[in-house]
């Protein structure tokens, strides 16, 4: 028992350094992973699709795709997995870690870039480095997908206006025959500057042992 314990600790140490979670958090997430994968080594998209709470989410498909996106593993690969293991699962979730109090300005900037990169990858589905008008339209359509037919017409208009906004802020003096290819990562960072992603894009990860889903409301 002693050897297995040290082995699992070593395994977790590796993950701790890679993802930044604490050992307790990793243990809890592992339990959740095993719950989702029905005690197998990997999970597939079907496992995630079967989570009941996700059914009402308008961007369910994008979220699930993000877990299987190779770009989110920080290893400069592209494409998508068919199945992912626990380590990949943790890597994706590490994008949602909360900020710590003692962080230097560079750390904050780095973390903001990482989180924005994650969001960007979710929109840029064909991985050409820009979010084109079609991709942006799709994003707005998905957001309005649960709102019936009113949504579809409006989605186009809203996406167009939004794209216009990005173009006019980032490239203010475009000639009539110039063409704005799409939102690059820099422009994306620029338009979301006001939202302070490093403080908003996080969820609370449990430190305490929770094997069953607890109905606890987290205070902030």
């Amino acid at each position: 028992m002693g050897t297995t314990q040290t082995r699992s600790e070593n395994k977790y140490d590796d993950l701790v350094t890679k993802t930044g979670f604490s050992p307790e958090q990793i243990k809890n997430l592992h339990k959740r992973f095993q719950q989702l994968s029905e005690n197998e080594e990997t999970i597939s998209k079907e496992h995630l699709h079967s989570i009941p709470a996700l059914a009402n989410n308008p961007i369910k498909k994008q979220i699930i795709d993000a877990f299987f996106d190779k770009r989110n593993q920080h290893q400069d690969e592209v494409g998508s997995f068919q199945e992912i293991g626990f380590e990949q699962f943790l890597m994706v979730l590490s994008h949602f870690r909360p900020p710590t109090l003692k962080m230097s300005e560079e750390d904050k900037a780095r973390i903001r870039k990482e989180k924005l990169r994650f969001l960007f990858n979710m929109h840029d589905t064909d991985n050409d480095g820009t979010i084109t008008l079609a991709e942006y339209r799709k994003v707005v359509e998905e957001l309005l997908s649960k709102s019936g037919t009113m949504g579809i017409e409006a989605a186009k208009a809203i996406a167009d206006a939004a794209m216009l906004g990005v173009a006019s802020t980032n490239v203010p003096h475009m000639k009539p025959d110039e063409f704005y290819e799409g939102i690059t990562f820099e422009h994306f960072e620029q338009i979301l500057k006001g939202l302070e992603m490093e403080t908003r894009m996080h969820i609370r990860f449990m430190d305490v042992n929770t094997t069953t889903m607890r109905c606890g409301k987290s205070t902030s």
């Binding site: 959740r32 989570i51 989410n57 709102s147 009113m150 216009l164 173009a167 609370r204 889903m213």
Partner: protein, 651 residues
């Protein structure tokens, strides 16, 4: 005193009876032909409204005057200047009065009833209706901690220490017992929303700090009400038992939750009423004001927290009312609220100054100085201690700078004064009042004046001035859904999960009941987009020219060139296009004509709005004129959609 000039008819004012000569005189006048009184003077008839209007007018003229003196208004916050004016006015009245033999001082004092029933509600309603909900709910735990635990700590600490101070032989305060001290502590401990608003509005700090201090000042009303009544009862009874303390705790929950519930009920009823105001747009704003005021008064009937009731009413009503009412009513509500709260605030500060001059004062050096020092000390200790505990639960921790601003922003104001005024008349009451006034002056003057340079010095983050763009709105919503989804994947029900559930409940059930017409199913993104379009169109009208669009980028720059050829959308011939345009234009004219039939109670479509729709139409046409025919087809959908949205916004 009354003056009867050129009045030929006898008057019997008061109990003054006519002397026989005068009666004869008047009889004679009755029999003769009397001249018609061309000019007469009767002040008593209009005395009360005249005085009230005069006071308000003077207060507002003072407010106007400050802004004409540029240097002063930058350094000194308005509240200080108003108090000084009040002091001057009170001094003048007192000086005038001291000549008269009248022993009753006719200096108007900050009457408690006047304050709580007339002056305070507009300010709280204004604050509650425009409360930034998102920040408020995100920080609710922190705010509640500060409001409840912080105020309790302040009350007991100050009360207890003051009792200790009173025990000192040299202070001659031996007759102040523990319960009176605790009563005093409970009065002085509460942070005042009026003072906080007055000062914080001018320094524009970031939303987090603003909502922390302001939210605390609102929610501590329940604590103050309970503590005040508790200690007042006890100081009459003389002793405290465990049951009494336990009942006090229960009372706190009843007061706060009861107040919130009353507010919610009135809010929902108000929202429901606004669903049917389609044909009586003129009275729409009144519903908002009256329902809110009724909520406040109803809560006060049962000694529940009126402030919390008012806030709950405003918060509950707002999203539904705004979806139902016309644009004009919305503007009316906004401006009337700001106007009333501004007048109230001005009057409150001036009356504070006047009451200072008027009231009897008992100045006891030890008592006053220790009160001021203890207020500061307990505030700092409370904030630091609570933040230490709170930071263990917060994700975005409060830094030392934040803590300093929160501690420094704990201003006391007129509520403390009025509560002190309510005390039964004893020697201690005047001493307490003097101390309360000193603390108020200290916090408003010293802290109010120095907070702005300190904010600059510490480089505290300021409020973001620009309005949200459509991109930020899209991504905020996207992020909300994303975080909810990730929480579901991780398997725990957190903050986002419950927020999402509440939103869905709101959308499926509540909105259908309370919002009229098709807007009940309108998603938030679309209403945001419509509002944004409306705002942009208004900006164009106000700037006068329609050719000046913010940038030269247009649809042509983003429309993908290669797909243009591949579009299968049938091109509309020029003739059909003209038809569509004529139809749209005639629809607009028809709407205008319908409104032209005159009725005093109807709102005429005023020239501004006519220009607005014209401009919007023309703007669209100009944009269209620049483009290729195929892109025009696309834009016609855009056109009719925004027309629909725009027309809807006007009704």
């Amino acid at each position: 005193c009354e003056t009867n000039i050129l009045y030929f008819f006898p008057m019997t004012r008061g109990n003054r009876t006519l002397t026989p000569e005068e009666e004869e005189d008047s009889q004679q006048h009755h029999n003769n032909t009397k001249a018609f009184p061309v000019l007469s003077f009767n002040f008593e008839h209009v005395r009360k409204p005249f005085e009230i209007s005069l006071w308000i007018l003077l207060a507002l003229l003072m407010k106007l005057g400050f802004h004409l003196i540029p240097r002063v208004s930058h350094i000194v916050p308005e509240s200080c200047l108003l108090i000084v004016v009040g002091l001057l006015v009170g001094g003048v009245i007192k000086a005038l009065d001291s000549d008269a033999s009248d022993t009753n001082s006719s200096v108007p004092v900050l009457n408690t009833k006047l304050f709580f029933l007339y002056l305070l509600p507009p300010i709280i309603l204004d604050a509650g209706y425009f409360l930034p909900i998102r920040h408020f709910t995100e920080n609710l735990g922190t705010i509640l901690m500060f409001a409840v635990v912080g105020t309790l700590w302040n009350a007991f600490f100050i009360g207890g220490m003051m009792y200790g101070v009173c025990q000192i032989e040299a202070a001659q305060l031996g007759d102040v017992d523990l319960l009176s001290c605790l009563l005093f502590g409970s009065i002085i401990s509460a942070v005042d929303p009026v003072a906080v608003l007055a000062v914080f509005e001018e320094i524009h700090i970031n939303e987090l700090l603003y909502i922390l201090v302001f939210g605390e000042s609102l929610l501590n009303d329940a604590v103050t009400v309970v503590l005040y009544h508790l200690f007042e009862e006890f100081s009459h009874a003389g002793t405290v038992t465990i049951t009494d303390a336990f009942l006090g705790v229960i009372c706190f929950f009843v007061v706060s939750l009861g107040g919130v519930m009353i507010g919610l009920i009135y809010g929902i009823v108000g929202a429901f009423t606004s669903r049917f105001t389609l044909h009586s747009r003129v009275i729409e704003p009144l519903f908002v004001f009256l329902y809110s005021y009724m909520a406040y008064l109803s809560a006060e009937v049962f000694h529940l927290s009126g402030i919390m009731s008012l806030i709950a009413c405003g918060v509950a009503m707002r999203p539904y009312v705004e979806a139902n009412i016309s644009h004009k009513s919305y503007t009316t509500i906004k401006y009337f609220m700001k106007m009333w709260s501004s007048v109230s605030e001005t009057l409150i500060f001036i009356f504070l100054g006047v009451s200072t001059v008027a009231g009897p004062h008992v100045w006891n050096w030890t008592f006053v100085i220790f009160t001021v020092i203890l207020c500061l000390v307990s505030r700092v200790l409370g904030v630091v201690g609570l933040t230490f505990i709170i930071n263990k639960f917060r994700i975005v921790k409060l830094t030392k700078k934040d803590q300093f601003i929160v501690a420094y922003g704990g201003l006391r104001g007129a509520i403390a004064f009025s509560l002190g005024f309510l005390l039964t008349d004893t020697h201690m009451k005047t001493m307490f009042l003097t101390a309360i006034i000193t603390v108020i002056f200290f916090t408003v003057f010293v802290q109010g004046m120095t907070i702005r340079p300190l904010v600059e010095l510490l480089a505290v983050k300021k409020k973001k001035e620009t309005k949200r763009s459509i991109n930020e709105e899209i991504h905020t919503q996207f992020l909300d859904h994303l975080l909810t989804g990730i929480e579901d994947v991780c398997g725990h029900y957190g903050h986002h999960h419950w927020k999402d559930k509440l939103n869905r409940f709101n959308k499926t059930y509540v909105k259908k009941c309370l919002i009229s017409g098709e807007r009940s199913t309108e998603p938030q993104l679309i209403s945001f987009y419509n509002k944004m379009e409306l705002r942009q169109a208004m900006m164009l009208v106000e700037s006068g020219s329609l050719a000046v669009l913010p940038s030269l980028t247009s649809m042509q720059n983003i429309q993908p060139r290669d797909t243009v050829k591949q579009r299968v959308i049938p091109s509309i011939s020029k003739r059909r296009e003209e038809e569509i345009r004529k139809m749209l234009r005639s629809n607009l004219q028809k709407t205008r004509q319908r409104l032209r039939s005159y009725s005093r109670h109807d709102l005429m479509m005023d020239p501004f709005e006519e220009d607005l729709s014209e401009v919007k139409f023309r703007k669209q046409r100009v944009e269209m004129g620049r483009r290729v025919r195929l892109t025009e087809t696309h834009l016609n959908v855009h056109n009719s959609l925004s027309f629909k949205g725009m027309l809807h916004c006007f009704y």
